[in-house]
């Protein structure tokens, strides 16, 4: 049987706690790799050393964007979208 995911209501939506932390780990790992690579290259090349902070911001942001794309591929939104006419009474699922 498929294991049930633990979900909580946060910021007006339902989120899977494990996905949040795994995704965050992936994203922070990519950022950390960026930091380490730039730091190592800065030791070798003076041109990189003089622009280290700018490079960290630029490539760090790129790493976060890449992580966003990767995470969005495996973390699926926990929403069921229903379309209906206005005449029905609206309902919403409340936290347990």
């Amino acid at each position: 049987m498929k294991k049930k995911k633990t979900m909580v209501s946060l910021w007006g939506d339902h989120i899977v706690i494990s996905s949040l932390f795994i995704g965050l780990a992936i994203s922070l790992l990519l950022v950390a790799i960026t930091f380490v690579v730039i730091e190592l290259l800065a030791h070798q090349y003076p041109a990189i050393a003089s622009n280290k902070k700018d490079l960290i911001y630029g490539f760090g942001t790129l790493a976060v964007l890449v992580a966003f794309i990767i995470n969005n591929m495996w973390i699926k939104p926990q929403r069921t979208i229903l379309t209906r006419s206005d005449q029905d009474t609206p309902e919403s699922e409340d936290p347990k």
Binding site: S9, L10, D13, Y57, N71, R79, T80, T83, P95, K96
Partner: protein, 468 residues
């Protein structure tokens, strides 16, 4: 610096990019305006882009977010952000009567009216101050600025007194202001070896503190999940059911009245730029619709007035703070605009504001061009998209963008910025101050009070030194 055609095109390009990005972010439910605007502005400033490009991007993002925030509220009754919370009631009424799409259109028109009204008012305010300065030789803004720390303290007191939890706000000011001023430069108060090792020679700017305050409620919300009782309360089963409505029903009368009320409320809201935008929106929004007996008319006026007000108070607050005072005098400038109004540190100018709030780093005319480009692109595209494709856009975002990835993106940007700024100390500060700030927010001390206390912080250190 001269404005070339290439620079104009770049301003247009970046404004377009930010408009598209913030249309998506605005539709995601629950996203707080300050939390999603500040990190992106920090990135643009850190990348050392031309300040005019940053200004166009920032203004486009602000207006787009204000406009698109209301779309999910109208369609699903989930607030798109803090500013759209007052829209939930009237939009539910309109939904009940079958006017969902029509209410989105009025929200868009309300925002458009708000922008069109607040821009001339802000410029007139600027012109009036310049006129008085030239005619009388009095530098009113310089006089006000020389007492800026006292003004921030006064602002924090005023904001506390106008909030629901007055006592909490008042009790927050000194401890929060003192704590943040101390953490920015602990050596001002004590010389501690452990702190010196942790700081590793770094001097902290305001950035980690801006990020801490803006993400505080979210950090605290996650932290609270560590407590089993809270976790059980927040735990949910199954996916969130989102109901998307489809209709084209319109009202036949009363539209002129809606436009008139929205314009008047936006004008009043622009003049109350120094107060909390949410507070002003709620207060004037309620006042504008109280005489209306018809439920649908009242709700329609409500959505248009609230949107007009939120756009007007935000825009007027930022423009007046920038052009008249060159320091943040409104909550909109203190919160979402905090990076724009950063006046630098250690004798160095900020991106837009000179060190010590002694003026702007760029000519006002050039800034106005950048602002107008951001404004025109942001408003025209988001209003057009909202009028035409609001339902489709909401469906796409709800279907393909998960809340987790948005939160991860936000946390990662904050980790990147705080670590790059001050290493491990920066990360610790963001977490610790974020938790404290989130807790205070939960207790009733809003962003406005906290930002004002942060700016007034050095005053408490000075007073403490005078006493001891």
């Amino acid at each position: 610096m001269t404005i070339t055609l290439s620079l104009l095109l770049q301003m247009g390009g970046i404004a377009l990019l930010m408009t598209v990005l913030y249309v998506i972010i605005g539709i995601i439910p629950g996203t707080d305006e300050t939390s999603v605007l500040v990190p992106m502005t920090v990135i643009l400033v850190s990348l050392k882009l031309n300040p005019l490009l940053i200004m166009s991007a920032f203004i486009a993002a602000v207006v787009t977010l204000n406009i698109t925030d209301s779309i999910p509220t109208a369609i699903t009754s989930i607030p798109g952000g803090v500013m759209s919370t007052p829209l939930v009631g009237p939009s539910q009424t309109l939904k009940k009567h079958g006017y969902t799409s029509y209410s989105v259109q009025w929200m868009m028109l309300g925002s458009l009216i708000g922008v069109l009204v607040s821009l001339p008012i802000a410029l007139a305010f600027w012109g009036l101050f310049e006129f008085i300065s030239v005619q009388t030789g009095l530098q009113i803004s310089n006089f006000i600025k020389s007492y800026n720390e006292y003004i921030f303290l006064g602002g924090a007191v005023l904001m506390s007194l106008t909030s629901k939890k007055k006592l909490v706000g008042l009790l927050t000011i000194i401890p929060f202001g003192f704590a943040t001023a101390f953490l920015r430069n602990p050596n001002l108060v004590i010389n501690n070896t452990l702190l010196n090792v942790l700081m590793d020679g770094h001097k902290l700017s305001m950035t980690p503190f801006f990020l801490s305050i803006t993400t505080g409620p979210l950090v605290y919300g996650l932290f609270e999940l560590l407590f089993p009782s809270v976790f059980q309360k927040q735990q949910v089963e199954g996916k969130k059911v989102v109901l998307l409505e489809q209709d084209v029903k319109r009202v036949k009368t009363g539209t002129k009245k809606v436009v008139k009320k929205t314009a008047i409320a936006s004008a009043l809201g622009s003049l109350l730029f120094f107060l909390s935008p949410v507070g002003v929106t709620m207060m004037l929004g309620e006042f504008a619709t109280r005489d209306e007996k018809d439920e649908v008319q009242e709700a329609l006026q409500g959505v248009a007035v609230v949107n007009g007000l939120s756009s007007a108070t935000y825009l007027a607050g930022i423009l007046i703070s920038l052009f008249v005072f060159a320091f943040p005098i409104s909550p909109a400038a203190l919160g979402p605009g905090s990076i724009i109004f950063n006046s630098g540190a250690n004798g160095l100018d900020g991106t837009f504001i000179k060190f010590g709030n002694s003026g702007l780093t760029l000519p006002k005319g050039q800034l106005l061009v950048a602002i107008l480009i951001g404004l025109v692109i942001g408003v025209s595209i988001s209003v057009w998209l909202g009028m035409k494709y609001s339902r489709k856009m909401t469906e796409i975002v709800f279907k393909y963008i998960s809340q987790e990835t948005v939160l991860i993106f936000l946390f990662s940007i904050i980790a990147l910025l705080s670590f790059a700024e001050a290493g491990v100390y920066g990360l610790i500060i963001v977490l610790a101050v974020g938790l404290f700030s989130g807790w205070l927010n939960r207790k009733g001390a809003g962003y406005g009070v906290q930002f004002m206390a942060l700016y007034a912080g050095n005053l408490f250190i000075t007073l403490l030194k005078m006493v001891f």
